[in-house]
Point group: C2
Chain length 203, copies 2
């Protein structure tokens, strides 16, 4: 029993996600969030708890809704296709929405006050989880002979993530999608292989 909620919690979360994406965790004020959600302050608090909890919910949703290209990539047949899919998808995502460029996982908190430390750590953990999946995928590729025996899955995973993070920084700085794709192409240009590398496949 009791009164029904008059706003759509999912829509409010989406609105908050966009604000956090644009301004980061500390740069987004509760005034920004409530305005974007079209909801009064206490309503957001009652629905999500506090700002940190709201951010964590937004981050979960971000991985689920926007970083879905990572699980997709991991299922591709070759390590090179995995890397290419991740890099080109990142180039797209980081420039897709002019009002919130870059990556929530990077924009969220890179450096901030001590109060933001738990959130910063959560973002680090989330990125580390993705990198670990990627490393495991490359280890499998090595075992399958898809990557040469000299390949270093750990370094390759860190490299793909680094390029992706760098593209996020550049996307937030206003780089065009084409420019980020050129970065992705360069990163892939001589993927380790037993055969001589072919130049840019992928859409």
């Amino acid at each position: 029993m009791g009164r029904h909620r008059e706003f759509d919690v999912e829509k409010a979360l989406d609105a908050a996600l966009c604000v956090f994406w644009r301004k980061g965790y500390e740069g987004a004020s509760y005034a920004d969030l409530t305005e974007a959600a079209g909801v009064e302050r206490p309503a957001l608090y009652s629905a999500f708890g506090n700002k940190e909890a709201l951010f964590r919910r937004a981050l979960d949703r971000y991985y689920e809704r926007y970083m879905d290209f990572i699980p997709e990539a991991l299922q591709l047949p070759t390590a090179r296709e995995v890397a290419a899919h991740i890099l080109y998808s990142a180039a797209d995502l980081h420039t897709r929405y002019p009002s919130h460029t870059g990556c929530l996982g990077i924009n969220g908190v890179l450096a901030g006050s001590d109060e933001a430390e738990p959130v910063r750590q959560a973002l680090i953990d989330a990125r580390a989880a993705g990198e670990a999946q990627l490393r495991e995928r490359f280890e499998r590729a090595k075992a399958e002979g898809d990557l040469p025996g000299t390949a270093n899955p750990d370094a390759l995973a860190a490299f793909v993530m680094a390029v992706s993070h760098g593209m996020a920084v550049q996307g937030k700085a206003g780089f065009s999608r084409g420019r980020l794709e050129a970065v992705a192409e360069q990163a892939l240009s001589t993927w380790p292989s037993d055969r001589t590398p072919e130049l840019h496949p992928e859409p």
Copy 2:
């Protein structure tokens, strides 16, 4: 005439630089800055103006004192050496000081409140200036035949910067120097050349 300043302005600036490096522009409070500088609030204001001006001074000093490997790199004989020097120097810088890892130019502001927009733009401009120098250096390398005719100086410069920014993100996340060097090495393995890339031998 008048009373002499009792603190070393350069030392105060160095202290502020470290705080900004660690916490970013918005994450660093004036309380943090004055404590680190060992100087009372009004003294910092009288010496530097306001927080934004202090940050800009710190940023200038950062490029002058810590990013000096860029002008160094530009004078090396080959494009590959230029890129290698930048990437390995970045790997070192971003992990050199445990108390302020990553890069001030990235940690400063990636995303923030509207109030931080001028500072964010200043950082974007500073990075763009470095990238432009790099692109010009690669154009020269292409003209000199050091880079193949198919090479794209613009993409190469953006790529080197992206990897460098990615390493900054990873450095701030606690990656070791060795791991960042592995990323640098991987990035350089994609470097264009007229010779066919060395193949990885089968075991």
